[in-house]
């Protein structure tokens, strides 16, 4: 039945197709100079972000920060005379909406590249589509190792330090600092938690975790999980949690009179955000809280990047609260501008890819980026922060993790210098 209808439709259309073929342009042939999203004066890029819905609480401030950085660059004359047009589409963290939003940006708005699409489930949904359409898919804002598959997804590049990498760093530090402690794990019931736990067990051993508890974002009451960890005598608890649930874990534990050492992922260890959840007791509750990070610390006023970003935030982002999300958004913006600059005077999608593969694009992190011909991994390491008297600051040296396979990897101290900030925070 379907087939006969199909044949009927095809027959009818074969005729009309002849007449209409001229105005239908499904496959853009185009000339070499005709690069999607690039004109003489503009470069158009797009992103998908949760601006509404439950996930908006944690992430809706990232894209305004990226936009503020782009506005700043545009005011300084743009890149090779081109200003950056930044299209932000709301997907509410719903993969179905992401599908539509990304197709609209690629097919209709003809963006040059996607920059910083947010979230593992939403972005997974468009991974095939963007790569089939050969659209550069840069700096995905998620710690999943999925984005580093240059063979299958040559147009996709990661950004964040991936979950197995940062969990290995945290576990290595815990072994050095608290060798005799009982280690436990509390994580989200998805790939974030799973990948993180795998990384921890790679360092601590198969039975290195005395208790492993998971939560579901649908249920904010986690007393059952935390009390189980307390009973198991957990002393060092690793957290693969988003900020809200890091705060919920720390707060619930305190209610139970339980004060272990916490070690959180960079995805859930932003002091400013945590204090927003915890309220007035923050300083007491978070004393000694360790978390991984790789970008300039927003409370680190000595840091030249932080100072510059704070300035841009005042001027171009209406003085929105300055926190980890602001740094994150602006760092993504900076990295894209750096890559675009390196892609030459008249950038094409190919030259952009070549610039990234050359490894010359360095970003502003404390650990090196993993970009190269056979790796699209984002930051390959992290540095640790600790909260002391209400101030979160970096300590020690950064670590890098080489090798991404479960069996072959090393965690090493990173001795290289972070790239100095170019004048005015604009890539040269």
């Amino acid at each position: 039945m379907i087939r006969s209808k199909l044949r009927l439709g095809t027959a009818v259309l074969a005729a009309s197709a002849l007449g209409l073929a001229s105005c239908a342009s499904p496959d853009e042939g185009g000339e070499a100079a005709d690069v999607p999203g690039i004109t003489d004066t503009t470069v158009t890029v797009g992103t998908h972000q949760p601006l509404t819905g439950p996930a908006a609480a944690g992430y809706s401030t990232i894209s305004p920060a990226t936009k503020a950085y782009f506005d700043y660059v545009n005011d300084k004359g743009g890149i090779n005379g081109r200003t950056i047009e930044y299209i932000v589409k709301d997907d509410g963290y719903n993969p179905a909406n992401t599908q539509t939003a990304v197709r609209e940006m690629v097919l209709q708005d003809e963006v040059f590249a996607l920059v910083g699409g947010l979230g593992t489930p939403p972005h997974s949904a468009v991974l095939d589509f963007v790569n089939d359409n050969e659209v550069p898919d840069l700096f995905v804002a998620s710690g999943s190792p999925t984005w580093n598959q240059p063979e299958d997804y040559p147009y996709t590049y990661g950004f964040m330090v991936d979950y197995p990498t940062e969990s290995r760093i945290l576990a290595t530090y815990a072994q050095e600092e608290f060798p005799e402690a009982t280690y436990c794990f509390f994580g989200q019931d998805d790939d974030f938690g799973e990948e993180f736990q795998t990384g921890l067990e790679a360092v601590l051993g198969e039975d290195g975790l005395a208790d492993a508890q998971v939560y579901s974002t649908a249920n904010t009451d986690i007393a059952a999980q935390i009390s189980s960890m307390k009973e198991a005598g957990c002393e060092v608890n690793f957290l693969a949690t988003i900020n809200g649930f890091s705060a919920q874990a720390v707060g619930t534990a305190a209610k139970l009179g339980y004060f272990p050492q916490w070690m959180a992922s960079s995805a859930g260890g932003d002091f400013n955000t945590l204090s927003g959840y915890l309220g007035e007791n923050t300083d007491k509750l978070l004393q000694g809280f360790v978390s991984a990070n790789y970008l300039p610390g927003y409370s680190d006023t000595e840091d030249e990047w932080t100072a510059k970003f704070a300035e841009i935030n005042e001027e171009y982002n209406a003085g929105a609260p300055f926190d980890g999300n602001t740094i994150f958004g602006m760092s993504i913006g900076y990295l894209f501008v750096e890559a675009l600059q390196a892609a030459g005077e008249n950038p094409t999608r190919e030259s952009l890819m070549e610039a990234l593969e050359s490894g010359d694009v360095t970003g502003n992190g404390h650990a090196p980026l993993g970009f190269g011909g056979d790796s699209h991994r984002g930051y390959t390491g992290a540095m640790l922060t600790r909260v002391d008297n209400g101030v979160q600051s970096y300590f020690g040296t950064p670590y890098v993790v080489t090798g991404t396979e479960a069996e072959e990897y090393t965690v090493e101290e990173y001795t290289g210098e972070r790239t100095a900030m170019p004048a005015d925070g604009l890539p040269e």
Binding site: N219, G276, L278
Partner: protein, 292 residues
Amino acid sequence: MDRFLFLTFDGLARGAVLAAFALSLVLIWRAARIVNFAQGAMAVAATYVAFTVTAVTGSYWAGLAAALVAGFLIGAVVERGVMRFVGNTSPLNPVIAGLGLLMLIQAVLGMVFGNAYRTMVTPFSSDPVEMFGITVFSSYDLFVFACIAVLVGGLVLLFTKTPLGLRLRASAFAPDLARLLGVRTPRMLTLGWALSSALGALAALLVIPTELGLNPHAADAVFVYAFTVAVIGGLDSPAGAVLGGLAVGVLLSWVSGYWGATLAPVAILVLLLAVLLVRPGGIFSLAKERTA
């Protein structure tokens, strides 16, 4: 055993809030035969009022009073402004109007207050209280129980012992007859909505500080669970809502504690199915409903 007790008490504390919220849904159902999908958003709007009042005055109690008043007014406005005109044409239209209101209220709250979570202060420290040799409740949990008990008790008295309560019940169950007897049923309907909305506001105000904080979507999950609770208990039965709320709270806590948080929604589905297979109108349904 300790763990069992701990989980049970933790579940009761959560269940009390579900009970209050389910009761607010039951009140509207009894008065207007409508499942109000905007109830969660309305309650959150009232909580934002409380948040603002507390921030300005510095007093939790002023905020609590403001939430009740705001909840009452929001309920009345929603009934007078929207639901009254949706009423009779089709039983589906109130559902859609409720969903429209839900989206509108959440979006407006997002515009005015932003999407970020706001910390809510609590009147009592959350220091744990020991009972039976284990930590069971915080004093805040006890405060939640007290608030809900007072309000539910007050409503029971209102409905069963006062002339106003009689008129409310009359207009809910026999509107035509009540009108013939001189009851101003439209006014009673508005009052029913207002009372229900105030109760929902109280439940939201009490539960939000124990969760991630105040956010336009802060009551989404509470609404979903409370609706299930109301269905389990029987939408016509206030007692069913209260007992169902406590039961579901405890069940959630046990499942989450013994089998993992992920399975909690499946457990609710199974409970719902089991109850409805035996009693299609909820546990406390009236006998004649079951034949329908």
